[in-house]
């Protein structure tokens, strides 16, 4: 019985050796790099290779190394190689970062807004594989004449993101994400925030109406509020309330309210209220 078992195991070993035996492949290979698989035995055998974007079947000679070309291993992911009934798996991993896909939001943001700008990057190698190993990513946002806002992050599973404060100064901000030598720029338009301290003055127009004009309207960081922003002038007198909406033009807003002997006139833009004038009451 023992002799029979010994003969059986020897026969199994011999048949495996004749068949070409097991495959030795590394666990990981970088995308685009050639892979050489040593084989044993002799004669010819069919090799199968299945990958994320590839599949091939070919006849190879046993006894020497079988080469998988770099072109066959371009996509990151799991590969299965089958030779003479033996199979092995390995993973192709991404190479160094070559391309940065950068999503910057929003495209327009008020100045001096905390966490007002967000940036997300996806990191790819030159074969468009997501680079999953952690990479240092630098985000910066800069407006001419204002200090840069910077943030360093480390990517995780190919993604990194950051939220940054917008600059104090309005203007076209350069929002840059960089990883090593690869960098991408987006432009975020930083506009003035809500008006701050609206001041108006009044005078009598030729027809007796109340002519109102504001001082240049700025946000709290000193940025001129964009033209087109609505400013509301209101007068309340014995006959009731009159309201005029005017747009800021060249930094100021102007309007005429109906003539009145005595009125209380106020100005507002959005939620910000400016000064109040008592018309005909001594001011």
């Amino acid at each position: 019985m023992r002799r029979f078992l010994l003969l059986l195991s020897l026969a199994c070993a011999a048949s495996q050796w004749l068949a070409g035996a097991s495959l030795r492949v590394p666990d990981r290979v970088q995308a685009g790099q050639e892979l050489s698989i040593p084989t044993s035995g002799s004669g010819e055998a069919t090799l199968y290779l299945f990958g994320p974007s590839y599949a091939a079947k070919r006849t190879v000679k046993l006894g020497g190394p079988v080469t998988l070309a770099g072109d066959e291993l371009l996509s990151a992911g799991r590969y299965v190689v089958v030779l003479n009934g033996e199979s092995s798996t390995f993973f192709v991993t991404a190479g160094p970062v070559s391309t940065v896909a950068f999503i910057a939001r929003p495209s327009r943001v008020p100045a001096s807004t905390k966490d007002g700008v967000s940036g997300t990057v996806f990191l790819f190698d030159r074969n468009q594989n997501l680079v999953l190993s952690p990479q240092p990513v630098s985000f910066s946002i800069a407006v001419p004449g204002a200090p840069d806002v910077q943030r360093q992050e480390t990517s995780k599973d190919g993604v990194a993101w950051a939220r940054l404060d917008s600059s104090r100064r309005a203007g076209a901000a350069q929002f840059v994400a960089s990883v090593g030598a690869a960098s991408v720029r987006r432009v975020v338009q930083e506009v003035a925030g809500e008006p701050c301290n609206i001041r108006m003055h009044a005078e009598r127009a030729k027809d007796g109406a109340i002519a109102l004009q504001t001082d240049p309207i700025r946000d709290c960081a000193g940025n001129p509020v964009p033209d087109g922003t609505i400013v509301t002038f209101t007068s309340v007198d014995a006959s009731g309330r009159s309201t005029v909406d005017a747009r800021i033009k060249r930094g100021i807003a102007q309007a005429e309210l109906p003539a009145s002997r005595q009125a209380s006139v106020s100005v507002a833009a959005g939620v910000v209220i400016g000064n109040e004038i008592r018309w005909g009451g001594g001011q």
Partner: protein, 176 residues
């Protein structure tokens, strides 16, 4: 005797009603694709809304269903619109190569446990970690040249379109 017949009729009626009620459910399971359980508790920087969660579960499962069919039948058309960009390019290329060599891949799907690890602030991209139980058969014609069964890990990037989420990248990884 008559009472027994009436009971039989009643049971038959109940069974028919039950089947009729269950039919839409069975049909919808087949239409939506493979079973996906989505965990959004670790989503960053944005929380995943319930409606989005339901859409992603449905569309990711559907995408796997489409991919399995396309790789088994070597028909790029079966990928449909579930895949876009790089994912679609890679799968289309794999199918073309398989077709050229007379090879096929068969995925027998036993369900996905999916974790949302990233959901962008503006809602334009989502990264998933998928742990899936699969049987994979690699075929030369109709002959299985390799068969394996186990737990596999996939990383997916999805982006929203008009009314559904699309798989933009799908990569098999060694683990998370």
């Amino acid at each position: 005797m008559r009472a027994r017949i009436q009971v039989r009729h009643l049971l038959f009626g109940m069974l028919t009603a039950l089947l009729a009620a269950a039919a839409p459910l069975l049909l919808s399971a087949a239409e939506t694709g493979f079973a996906v359980i989505l965990d959004t508790s670790q989503s960053q920087p944005r929380h995943v809304e319930e409606t989005t969660m339901a859409s992603v579960e449905r569309d990711y499962g559907h995408a796997w269903h489409a991919m399995a069919a396309a790789l088994e039948e070597n028909k790029i058309g079966l990928l449909g619109s579930d895949f876009v960009g790089l994912a679609k390019e890679q799968l289309s290329q794999a199918i073309a190569e398989q077709s050229k060599s007379g090879l096929k891949r068969r995925y027998i799907d036993h369900g996905h446990q999916v974790r949302v690890v990233f959901y962008s602030s503006d809602g334009s991209a989502m990264e998933l970690h998928d742990t899936v139980r699969l049987e994979i058969q690699l075929l030369d014609g109709d002959k299985v040249v390799q068969h394996e069964q186990g737990t596999f890990h996939f990383l997916a990037l999805m982006t929203p379109a008009e009314n559904s989420w699309k798989v933009r990248l799908l990569e098999s990884v060694s683990g998370f």
